[in-house]
Amino acid sequence: MLETLGYTTVEGSRKDHEITVYALSTCGFCKRALAFLDSNGFAYRYIYMDRIPLETKTEVKKILKDRYKEDVAFPFAVIDGQDHLVGFIEPDWKKTLGLAGS
């Protein structure tokens, strides 16, 4: 079901991780998270969850919560289909994406 969503794809030179970001178009930290990925050259895809139908959104959040055993807050990033990040705390994103120390 997650694969059928209308993600926006962002090109980047760094393709060492498969990154999907579930975000809100109204959220400052979501925008900062996407800007962080942009400025570090990551390729990724994202979707603004506040712009999809409520039923779809509810289903997506349920899938994410079941899969990652975590309440869904935004931004919610899935890395390589395994790791996940909730909220934008830059040191955590750097560590998970292999930028620690940079």
Binding site: L24, S25, T26, G28, F29, C30, R32, D71, G87
Partner: protein, 110 residues
């Protein structure tokens, strides 16, 4: 319900901050995004849903997330800023630090 402009929402945020003894985040670009997000939410839902929270589909379900959200007071006391970082404690504002993401207290287990 009449639509709000960004200017009106900015006035609302300033009024809330003044009443509560908080400061509006001085990072102009970031705060502008939040004010725009709040404005979108008012014009979309009819109430100022926190720009960093997702609507559960009704005003009743979102009641604790209407700006200033129910968790603002505790978050500002603990972290120096609210969840979306629109409002800061005076001390945090004076420190010059930039807010970072914090856990959503809504999900905190009692």
């Amino acid at each position: 319900m009449a639509e709000k402009t960004g200017e009106q929402t900015g006035g609302f945020a300033a009024m809330v901050a003044k009443k509560q003894g908080w400061k509006v985040n001085p990072e102009a670009d970031f705060t502008s995004m939040l004010v725009e997000g709040l404005t979108v939410n008012w014009n979309r839902y009819g109430y100022y849903l926190c720009p960093c929270r997702d609507s559960e589909g009704s005003r009743e379900a979102d009641a604790d997330l209407v700006c200033p959200c129910k968790y603002s007071w505790e978050d500002i006391a603990e972290y120096g800023h609210c969840y979306c970082a629109l409002y800061l404690s005076p001390g945090f504002a004076e420190s010059g630090r930039s807010p970072s993401g914090i856990p959503d207290r809504r999900f905190r287990k009692a």
